[in-house]
């Protein structure tokens, strides 16, 4: 008689059986001190399902295979000087923003899932959170390896971890993860596992990495899709955690709803940076931000919330506002970076005629009316030798930390301002969504490290722009300002001239 092989479901049950146990030297509540204070009630941890049923041995096997494939591509890219085959030198600015703004968050996610994996007392979520923690460490490492090749040629990359902790716009993603990591383990799981991974990472990785492929960046698309292949597991963990919490106890619903509302809005604000990359920074475009939003939030999110409605969970508050903003947000963000190009570690430019026409076509309701005239005026000012720089430090939203440049819902010609009073001080916000978040946790958000406030308080190297840039380790005249006239542009033009010569 031949031994019968166990099926996937039985194998998983055997491999994870007994990984959790009741502690005897110390009471369970002392071993797991953080999983009760948030008010979440769990009746039975064993109800947790991992539909991937991935055991540690299979995990190592698959991850090793992914790494082998990725590094073969990175090697080939370097050997063949892949950087010279990009669509345009401008493209590299996308990679710079990615490494300074997103890769450090992969590391934060690694730390966060390590914490969740340690402090949730059920075995199912602990195994899944542990794998995700390792995945996120892999993501940051592969991104640094990939982009280090660009660092040999282009500016603005070499000081990325230092910049991440100091530069004004990088405080947007940094504060997002700082907020999640200083929350309890359940809020962290809803914030990053559900709201970020399930609802929003598709918007980050899929159209963006496809854009990298389209612009000749084989190395970035390869790490991007390699990371994204872990993402399906992360999304599954996110959806399992929310179903589990809602099934365990009806008292969990209002707590979870509040987190979903909060983290949806925070995520939406942070992804405004991605919106700008897609609409303005990719020389060859795959889809507009608005199109990506329609597919990945309206359509995919719609299916999901229809499903979660049976637990009483509602579509996140202000989802309608976010959807209306999808026609504005990339333009308003690019306007900010264009005006503050002297303080950013990547290059900016005004779109050319072909690009403007693409934007007009993709944004028929808003672009010609509100944004194109401004871009044409700024382009004209450049021609006249009066390139517009905004030298005033902007007011920042106390929650999302973005300059207060967003407009009123339904009125794109009026800047939105909201405020709250707390302990005798006034706090300012870009939107109702950000104000609500502050009002829900004023003790936490009153402590925000706001880059502009810090400059005024003398905490950022000195009072002048060069002082602050120096403190950022931003190489003035190379890392910042317009692409035209930059050392990056000069190098790119040399390569292209050389290619023409070689071909001719």
């Amino acid at each position: 008689m031949t031994a019968k092989k166990l099926g996937l479901k039985q194998r998983y049950a055997h491999m994870t059986r007994g990984l959790d146990w009741e502690t005897t030297y110390q009471p369970m509540d002392k071993v797991f001190p953080y999983d009760t204070f948030e008010g979440i009630k769990i009746r039975d941890w064993s109800q947790w399902e991992d539909p991937f049923r991935l055991t540690m041995d299979a995990y190592w096997k698959f991850q090793a295979e992914k790494e082998r494939k990725l590094y073969a591509v990175l090697d080939a890219f370097a050997q063949n000087n892949g950087q010279t085959n990009l669509s345009d030198g401008r493209y590299v600015n996308v990679v710079k923003l990615f490494l300074t703004g997103i890769s450090p968050e992969e590391y934060q996610a690694h730390r966060g899932f390590a914490f969740a994996g340690r402090h949730l007392r059920g075995v199912g979520p602990r195994v899944a959170a542990q794998m995700q923690s390792l995945d996120e460490l892999r993501h940051v490492q592969t991104q640094i390896h990939t982009i280090s090749h660009y660092n040999k040629y282009f500016d603005g990359i070499g000081e990325f971890p230092h910049m991440h902790d100091r530069v004004w716009y990088l405080s947007v993603p940094k504060s997002f993860f700082d907020d999640a990591r200083t929350a309890g383990p359940f809020e962290y799981m809803i914030a990053i596992g559900f709201a970020f991974e399930y609802l929003l990472t598709n918007l980050l990785f899929v159209p963006f990495m496809s854009g990298a492929a389209y612009n000749g960046d084989m190395s970035t698309v390869t790490f991007g899709f390699s990371a994204q292949s872990d993402e399906s597991r992360h999304m599954t963990l996110g959806i399992e955690v929310i179903k589990f919490l809602l099934e365990q106890h009806p008292d969990n619903l209002p707590i979870v709803q509040k987190w979903v509302d909060k983290w949806f809005w925070r995520g939406h604000r942070m992804l405004g940076l991605v919106a700008m990359m897609m609409d303005y920074m990719l020389p060859k475009k795959v889809m507009s931000w608005k199109e990506a939003w329609d597919i990945y939030f309206t359509e995919a999110g719609g299916s999901l919330f229809q499903d979660l409605a049976r637990y009483g969970l509602k579509v996140p508050k202000y989802a309608d506002v976010a959807t209306a903003e999808a026609e504005h947000i990339s333009h308003q963000n690019w306007a900010v970076f264009y005006q503050y190009t002297h303080a950013a570690a990547f290059h900016t430019w005004m779109p050319d005629k072909e690009h403007l026409d693409w934007l007009s076509e993709k944004y028929p309701n808003t672009f010609d009316k509100y944004y194109r005239p401004r871009w044409e005026m700024w382009a004209q000012m450049e021609k006249d030798g009066k390139r517009f720089y905004n030298m005033a430090l902007p007011q920042l939203c106390n929650t999302c930390q973005i300059p207060m440049a967003y407009t009123e819902p339904g009125d794109p010609t009026t800047i939105a301002f909201r405020e709250s009073r707390f302990n005798g001080d006034t706090y300012h916000f870009c939107s109702d969504g950000c104000k609500d978040i502050f009002d829900g946790e004023p003790e936490k958000f009153a402590q925000s490290w706001l880059p502009v406030h810090q400059i005024f308080q003398g905490a950022c190297g000195g009072p002048t722009v060069p002082d602050v840039l120096n403190w950022y380790r931003l190489n003035n005249g190379a890392d910042n300002l317009d692409y035209v006239g930059s050392p990056d542009e000069k190098l790119w033009n040399q390569w292209m001239a050389g290619a023409v010569k070689a071909a001719g």
Partner: protein
Amino acid sequence: MAQIASLTLYHNDEARPIIDAIIADNPGIRVMNIPGAVKLDCDGSLTVNRSSVEARLGRSWEPQELQLVLISMAGNLDEDDDHFTLSWRH
């Protein structure tokens, strides 16, 4: 609104037999090509069958290997030795 079950896969040689199997086994499927990837959408549910993939691949194949070419997905997952199914049914 119909709830959409969806899979996004690499568009490369390794994924092609899997993509073909999915298209053959899920009538009414919608295929969206973007550079480097393909997004497959189905109303309600979407299944990858081990036997269909193996027939096209000419070797044995486990549904867990899907993870090597997977970019994204939508729906509740049910995975076993012979299938990988995403659906919004309960």
